[in-house]
């Protein structure tokens, strides 16, 4: 399969950031600078909520415009504060970002299809949120550590998680898909917001160790209402830990619009905790990357946490079990389709004359290959065995459980054919 560009990107970033960032004079941003940035960011309206969403979240707050480097029309707009943070992203890197965006959309669409075909129990689509995930994940070093929600499967892909491993948990074949330490990314969190505290604690550890890596936590707009997230913000600020709070404001928490969660723009909440924040066009891969690099740089330099609100949109259902037509206006979706995160990069590449037929074919081939690998990996996944139920509950033998395991083994054996034990009634 063709995931070379993804892997080299991770390594590339790691090698570069390991030493050079600190030495040469790259721009840094402290909290007082952030205020200045607010005044000069572009005035694009992206993220102010669709027509069907009523009053935009944040209309009552101080409000601020979005950091944007690529407009929805595919125009690269210059930005004195943030351009320097992506000056290494030349044509080749831009093409590679486009490739990743396209591959991830393909993964997502294929996984949705696999669910419809009964191969997955459930899938949480990330359709529309590709740029927020790719732009941020590709700003990370290998030794940074990610704590995400269930929706960041594009981030997992960028971290180098095997495609089959991404699906394992959604197929119901395992309690999680990968070893967090091999890719430095915790497995998806379903309890809304819990992971933000884990990231804060991990960052406390980094700080104690004197390392220059950072923790990054992804969560949704709905999650910002949970106590855990607010407590994480308190701890992170109190201890000034190297942490990036990355909030994907996709405007919905299942059926609840973001305005139910917050009366100010979500990014503006951070200031109440004493945490500097950035509000970025989450459908602009370059702007997301720039913002994430700003936040990471601050973290690595001992400047404490940063809160990023990536303003994006959940174009699909909450999960494959959800039917969004019951609660949201189709017009809203249309509005956001015009701000598609992939189309704008494509247009930009076209403007630059980079969208050759050869390159397009290459991108298509890669997406096809990824989809094939995903499907084959899903269907070919080994089935778990009955006695796997008892595995990994404890790190050392446990007498209660050992007894139950023994009894259940005897129970299965009493059927002669163990399959018979569950085929009749099973879980009914």
């Amino acid at each position: 399969m063709n995931i070379v560009s993804r892997v080299t990107n991770i390594r590339g970033n790691g090698a570069r950031a390991a030493g050079s960032r600190r030495d040469h004079k790259s721009p840094t941003l402290r909290s007082h600078d952030v205020k200045r940035v607010r005044a000069i960011v572009s005035t694009d309206e992206t993220g102010k909520g669709g027509s069907g969403a009523g009053a935009p979240a944040g209309s009552a707050g101080t409000g601020r415009n979005l950091i944007q480097l690529i407009t929805p029309d595919g125009e690269r707009v210059s930005h004195p504060e943030f351009d320097p943070w992506v000056k290494d992203i030349g044509d080749e890197q831009l093409c590679s970002l486009y490739e990743d965006l396209t591959a991830i959309r393909r993964i997502d669409v294929e996984a949705t299809a696999l669910q419809r075909q009964g191969e997955l129990g459930l899938w949480p689509p990330l359709l529309g949120q590709e740029a927020a995930q790719v732009g941020s994940a590709r700003a990370l070093r290998h030794d940074d550590f990610v704590f995400s929600s269930y929706r960041e499967n594009g981030v997992a892909y960028c971290r180098g998680v095997d495609l089959t491993d991404i699906l394992k948990v959604w197929r119901g074949n395992a309690s999680s898909g990968w070893d967090p330490y091999t890719v430095n990314m915790a497995t998806p969190q379903i309890i809304i917001g819990a992971q933000t505290l884990h990231a804060t604690g991990y960052a406390m550890g980094i700080q104690n160790d004197g390392a220059d890596s950072a923790a990054v936590t992804y969560f949704g707009d709905g999650a910002t209402s949970e106590g855990d997230v607010n407590e994480a913000l308190v701890f992170a600020a109190s201890f000034q830990v190297p942490l990036v709070f990355f909030c994907s404001n996709n405007h919905w928490a299942i059926s609840e619009p973001v305005r139910l969660q917050s009366h100010v723009q979500i990014a503006d909440r951070a200031s109440g905790f004493g945490i500097p924040s950035l509000r970025v066009d989450g459908n602009d891969v370059l702007a997301v990357m720039a913002a994430t690099r700003v936040a990471l740089d601050r973290a690595r330099r001992g400047g404490g946490p940063t809160f990023i609100e990536a303003v994006t949109y959940r174009m699909g259902p909450h999960t494959t079990a959800d039917d969004p037509t019951r609660y949201r206006d189709a017009n809203e979706l249309e509005d956001w389709a015009a701000k598609d995160p992939i189309d704008r990069v494509k247009t930009l590449l076209d403007r630059k004359g980079l969208l050759t037929e050869q390159f397009r074919q290459h991108v298509r081939d890669r997406a096809d290959a990824v989809a094939r690998e995903l499907r084959a990996g899903c269907i070919g996944m080994p089935e778990p065995e009955a006695m796997d139920v008892f595995k990994h509950v404890y790190s050392a033998p446990n007498s209660w459980l050992d007894r139950q395991e023994d009894h259940y083994a005897r129970y299965l054996a009493s059927f002669g054919d163990p399959a018979g034990a569950t085929s009749q009634e099973g879980a009914r």
Binding site: V169, G172, E383, V389, V393, L401, R410
Partner: protein, 336 residues
């Protein structure tokens, strides 16, 4: 009598409560516009308005905490926790506040809060969507805990729970939401079986089988299958988990001399332990054999491809029945 699904019966009971008492107010995540992820509250916001059927921000501790404030103010909040596994952020408010306020205020403050919780597994879901946390709450003094097994009870008991001046956890067996049954919507709540009482579902003479919630159906199926083999099982739907109606269970065990208890929740410290111990205390000399528990294992709820092993099946229950009866079973030859 009307044929309706389990989910629809709860919906109808909620509607009745909203109609009958202006102080009843529903709160939860996605319960309004969407009508809940299981559609249990479908149409209620449309008919009763946004102030009586409230979509809350995404915060369980706040849902329960504010329900307490509303109860202080004389309301009867009925809150939905979207799935069993999402009740824990609210655990502190339930255990430290909801359960204790009546005691703390020496009866001055009532907490007529109903906490609806879809619970149990068997629906092929990911982690946190299939748990059976009832024992955490039956262990907490000050709470009433009930669960229903059929549409009629679903309809009746939700209204009784709402009318109760004590806080009630109302566990809904989510894998039975689509099961249909006859419901008498004109039932008189005052003469209906009180929510604290257990019910004998099928009379039998050889063994008492106690079940609740989702496993009541499985237990009935087991009784039918056993009857073919000439074994007579008395099935009891426990209905109330705190307090347990031991009088009904005891009367049955005095007759059969044998007790099997089944639940999806893990075994240790569960309802089965409680029922077995209490019945042993109450009628030890009527027992012909040690009580048997057929339960989920002491493991985190497993991923969906293996969940059927964890969940007590009809066969596993029948194996337990055989054990209670001293017939050949999977543990024959082992002690205990």
């Amino acid at each position: 009598m009307t044929q309706m699904t389990f989910a629809r019966a709860i919906n109808s009971g909620l509607r009745k409560s909203l109609e009958n008492d202006p102080k009843v107010i529903l709160m939860g995540e996605d319960i309004g516009t969407l009508g809940g992820v299981f559609r249990v509250t479908a149409g209620l916001q449309k008919d009763f308005g946004k102030h009586r059927v409230v979509d809350t921000p995404l915060a369980e501790s706040a849902i329960i905490g504010t329900a307490i404030g509303l109860a202080y103010r004389g309301y009867r909040p009925v809150v939905e926790i979207q799935f069993d596994g999402f009740i824990y952020p609210a655990f502190d408010q339930i255990v430290s506040q909801v359960a204790k306020l009546h005691y703390r205020t020496q009866g001055a403050v009532k907490m007529p809060i109903t906490i609806r919780v879809p619970f149990g597994g068997g629906i092929g879901s990911p982690e946190h969507h299939s748990e059976s946390p009832e024992a955490y709450f039956t262990h907490t003094s000050g709470l009433r805990v009930v669960t229903v097994s059929n549409p009629q009870d679903a309809y009746t008991v939700i209204q009784q729970a709402i009318q109760s001046d004590d806080p009630v956890l109302y566990f809904e067996p989510k894998r039975r939401y689509h099961d249909k049954g006859e419901v008498d919507e004109g039932i008189d709540l005052r003469t209906a079986t009180p929510m604290g009482e257990a019910r004998v579902l099928t009379e039998g003479t050889d063994v008492t089988l106690v079940a609740y919630g989702p496993l009541v159906k499985t237990a009935r199926d087991a009784a039918t299958a056993a009857a073919d083999e000439g074994i007579s099982i008395e099935v009891i739907d426990l209905r109330s988990l705190a307090p347990v109606d031991y009088a009904t269970v005891e009367a049955s065990v005095r007759k059969t001399g044998r007790l099997v208890v089944t639940h999806e929740a893990g075994q240790s410290g569960g309802l089965g332990a409680e029922v077995a111990a209490s019945i042993t205390e109450r009628c030890f000399y009527h027992l012909e054999a040690a009580p048997v528990r057929v339960t989920g294992f002491d493991v985190p709820y497993p991923y969906s491809k293996v969940e059927m092993h964890h969940l007590p099946s009809m066969d596993r229950i029948l194996d337990g029945v055989d054990r209670a009866l001293g017939r050949p079973n999977s543990l024959s030859g082992l002690e205990g």
